[in-house]
């Protein structure tokens, strides 16, 4: 019978035994999610800032669409990527389906709207404060983007963490495009699903505890970096 006791002891045993299968699963999870967040940030931060600065017809539609996409179900994102990358799909010849690259692509699609939409809000608020000064200095909107992104950096750190939270927690997309192949595309969340369906609940819960600990650790590191920098720079 499952008790929290044997879940914790399973988690502890897993960590202490340094099981190589577990380590590779953990590393792949981190690699996929961090890479997805990195790529999504590189696109979404300037995109969100541009959306904050430019006025064009249909802008509100774009903003609403972006906000709505924050709630995109991971399985739907996974399905779309699956259709694109499957043998018969338009990008089928790339042969990416059931690879970690496909998982990164799917997670980028999930994370990008979150980072872009929240960046838009943060940058728009900051621009309200800076606009006159930056206009007086003769900055074009294009050149305001790096300035505003840098000055909003503490808020944006939280935005990026929200994106990371989404990536590390989702299972639907990586399951569909990765396939949960042992040693190739198996990550923490897909393992948890597998162990649960096998009835190995202590193992599933143990993996869950490890995942939670990892996410907590990354958030703690980001928080400490942010707070230290904030105290130093005001």
């Amino acid at each position: 019978m499952l008790t929290s006791d044997n879940a914790f002891s399973t988690a502890l045993t897993l960590i202490l035994s340094m099981d190589s299968a577990l380590i590779s699963i953990v590393m792949l999870s981190l690699q996929v999610s961090l890479m997805a967040v990195l790529i999504a940030s590189l696109i979404a931060l300037p995109l969100g800032a541009a959306l904050a600065l430019w006025r064009f017809p249909g802008r509100n539609v774009v903003i609403v669409a972006l906000n709505a996409l924050m709630g995109l179900p991971p399985v739907v994102a996974g399905l779309c990527v699956y259709l694109l990358l499957s043998r018969a799909g338009p990008l089928g010849e790339w042969g990416l389906l059931f690879t970690p690259t496909a998982m990164v692509i799917a997670q980028v699609i999930l994370v990008l709207p979150i980072i872009a939409a929240l960046t838009r809000q943060q940058v728009e608020a900051l621009h309200g404060e800076y606009a006159e000064q930056l206009n007086s200095l003769g900055l074009t909107r294009l050149r305001m983007i790096p300035t505003l992104l840098w000055d909003a950096r503490f808020g944006l750190l939280t935005v990026i963490l929200a994106g990371f939270g989404r990536a590390s927690a989702e299972v639907g997309a990586v399951m569909i495009v990765g396939g949960n192949i042992d040693g190739v595309t198996r990550v923490m969340t897909t393992s948890i699903v597998l162990e649960t369906s096998k009835g190995n609940l202590p193992m599933a819960l143990g993996l869950g505890i490890i995942l939670l600990a990892l996410v907590t650790m990354i958030n703690a590191i980001a928080h400490i970096i942010g707070e230290t920098a904030k105290r130093r720079l005001g």
């Binding site: 006159e132 000064q133 007086s136 200095l137 003769g138 900055l139 300035t147 000055d151 720079l233 005001g234």
Partner: protein
């Protein structure tokens, strides 16, 4: 200092400039000519349109009608705001920032690295010891001096100041006024708004008086203070409430 070497400041001409926002006329058609290297003070009660007129002149706002034109080459301009807008960086980085984005430099500093230029501006405005402090934790007076140091580095031919001392204590006000005179001495034209009569007395060569979005007077300071032509300006100088 180098007042002899700086070229004469271009003349700014506002021709029937008005500003209408959501059906409300905030500035009636106004014509104004700002010539020579003067210290022009724009005066009037709150809501008269002082800041608006200045923003139109500086080009931050586009007039609803009329034109804002510089005769000849548009001069280098800078503006200091009532509440200084400082970036979330150190005092020094706020200055190196403008040097990096604007390709201008004061002629006497031109040959120096950006950081040295920025430090010399901090020293000039008594802020050198605060170089590494975050700009936004500085006191109100220090922040306004930093904004002036930033404007100084831009080497403007025209400096706009919008109520730069309204939130400051007397010592900080003195520092800002000294800086304004220093700018003017080095060949920068001054355009400044204030509602403080004493300050206008100390600084103005000529006075533009606004009331309810209308320009009522533009006269040499001496004439304005001794013989204002409009009853509103007379009342304003006597310290009566004008509406």
């Amino acid at each position: 200092m180098n007042a002899h070497h700086t070229p004469p400041v271009a003349t700014l001409e506002l021709d029937s400039v008005s500003f209408i926002h959501r059906g409300h006329t905030l500035l009636s058609p106004t014509s104004m000519r700002l010539a020579g290297c003067q210290r022009t003070l724009i005066m009037g009660p709150n809501g008269a349109g002082k800041s608006l007129l200045m923003r139109l002149a500086h080009g931050l706002l586009t007039p609803s009608s009329g034109s804002v034109r510089w005769q000849g080459v548009q001069p280098a301009q800078a503006m200091v705001f009532q509440r200084p807008v400082l970036l979330r960086r150190s005092a020094l980085d706020n200055l190196t920032y403008v040097l990096a984005i604007n390709k201008v430099a004061r002629p006497e500093l031109k040959a120096l690295p950006r950081k040295t230029q920025a430090m010399s501006a901090l020293e000039k405005f008594g802020l050198a010891h605060l170089a590494k402090r975050p700009a936004r934790v500085l006191s109100g007076g220090e922040q306004q001096r930093l904004a002036l140091a930033r404007a100084w580095l831009l080497n403007p031919q025209v400096l706009f100041l919008d109520e730069p001392t309204s939130a400051l204590d007397p010592a900080a006000i003195k520092a800002v006024e000294d800086a304004v005179l220093e700018f003017h001495h080095s060949g920068t034209r001054i355009v400044m708004t204030t509602h403080d009569l004493h300050q206008a007395h100390r600084l103005a060569n000529d006075v533009v008086f606004l009331h309810n979005g209308e320009l009522l007077e533009h006269t040499p300071a001496r004439d304005f203070f001794t013989a204002p032509t409009s009853p509103e300006a007379g009342a304003f100088i006597r310290g009566e409430l004008v509406w």
